[in-house]
Symmetry: C2
Subunit: 291 residues, 2 copies
């Protein structure tokens, strides 16, 4: 149970956490703070938060848990505002899609990693953003990856885990580096392909015609290209190294495919497509219990 | 109204046409023919077809419309079997995802394009195949592209258009070359990216772990990688030129993205992502009436 929760950044992620905890009876008061006053007023009207705080320090005052869900590029400024303002029992966690950069920000601002800090990442989201997109079931049956640091207190791990479990999520633990590599492959790279594909088609002369004939599969395939550009810019910058590595690996694969098509190498194409289909079908079977 | 329909290749596409025409009361008898006897027996049991024919010539006998829905690589053999077997009033059409190669096959087999022949392509499908995947609503509100040739008789255009409209589809006309370019961009290229991505991840050492953390967006994004490998090998070979051109264009886009990430060029990334999001959002608005 969290008596007072401070949500810094009341968008899809922060708003859905507040709604999920309320639905589970796992939270008392929710204090919201963020860049857009209009969004915060909306969050108040929607009863996602109980009160607006002027800045992160005011939000954190008296909170037993501070949840930071702002774009990665805004993290450091939030930590600066929180520095020296956290009570000894307050737990600090975040929802950043890249963990290495958040840990770096915390280290740069606080000098040493505070024992109250546990980096986290809920593997959930939609292509929509803002508090109006928030809903209490967002984390149902989703995975949340926590990446405890050597400095993290067992109490912080226990409280943050219990919070996510109350939202219906499954909690997993891994290292910061492992998280950033896995996410580069399974999330950041697919987003680059979707953004790149849609942009590439949008720049074709006949693009109205092109999009007109894009069938059902295309809609699913490109849904993630409707994601927030600011958030994705920040993710790319924050996970530059791991993302560059998987992009390079994918480029080799794509060159191989293009070459097989040019050479009309049907056997090679069949081999690639069959291996991909087998992996996709196996993955869907594996993932079914979570869906 | 089609008194007798011959379906060569009773899978998702051919089976769904038969079911849709039956549901619309637009067909009398349906004769099925195909490579797999077990699949045809299943089609009979499911009442997708009324009778099994031993070969395409037997299926076409007395049919007023012959619908060829076999993989592109099997088209030529079907046309060879049909040569000299079509009554003067019989209309011949197909569902191939590439039109240039089908026209080439018909020309090679029949020497001249028969006036009864109208190439077509329903922009519909799922990642499943076989007659068990067929359902009567597959073509509801979908586009069907017809690519009449100078030789095609007006009567064939009229009958094939009426057939697709009876299935609830919207009929569009374009040239063979235009069809193959539009489809390369909106369907064939996205399939290459999905197959390539899943294969690239499947080949990573930690692939079980990787797929375990692939979130909801990944499932949508890679759904088309579960498509039939044989069909897609044939599409790549048949649309080699147009597909190579869009692949080359996409590779330039991807290299630009990779370079912007390496250089940490946030402005450039934001520009690409914003343009893609705007195009995707506009496309979804445009497409809504069809969904």
């Amino acid at each position: 149970m969290i008596e007072r929760l401070a949500v810094i950044g009341v968008g899809l992620i922060g708003g859905s956490l507040a709604l999920a905890l309320r639905a589970a009876g796992h939270v008392g008061e929710v204090i919201g703070c963020g860049r857009s006053r209009a969004n915060l007023e909306r969050a108040l009207t929607l009863r996602v938060i109980d009160r607006i705080a002027e800045d992160p320090a005011a939000a954190a005052r008296g909170a037993d848990l501070v949840f930071v869900a702002v774009p990665l590029g805004a993290m450091r400024a939030v930590f600066q505002a929180l520095r020296g303002q956290l009570a000894p029992e307050t737990v600090l966690t975040d929802a950043g899609s890249v963990k290495g950069s958040v840990v770096e920000d915390v280290r740069a601002v606080f000098r040493a990693i505070p024992s109250c800090f546990l980096p986290g990442h809920p593997i959930a989201g939609t292509e929509h953003s803002g508090v109006e997109a928030a809903f209490p079931e967002l984390y149902h049956n989703r995975r949340v990856i926590l990446t405890p640091l050597p400095e993290t207190a067992p109490n912080a791990i226990q409280r943050v885990s219990a919070m996510w479990q109350a939202c219906g999520a499954e909690v997993d633990f891994m290292s910061v580096a492992q998280h950033d590599e896995v996410l580069a492959a399974t999330s950041h790279l697919p987003h680059m392909l979707a953004f790149g594909l849609v942009d590439s088609l949008a720049r074709m002369r006949e693009n109205d015609e092109i999009f007109r004939y894009a069938a059902g599969g295309f809609r699913d395939f490109t849904r993630i290209a409707s994601s927030n550009p600011e958030m994705w810019r920040d993710i790319c910058l924050a996970n530059r190294e791991a993302l560059s590595a998987v992009l390079a690996r994918f480029s080799v694969e794509l060159a191989d495919l293009a070459d097989s098509i040019r050479r009309a190498d049907g056997e090679r194409l069949f081999e690639i497509f069959s291996r991909a289909k087998a992996a996709r079908d196996r993955y869907v079977d594996q993932a079914r219990p979570m869906a």
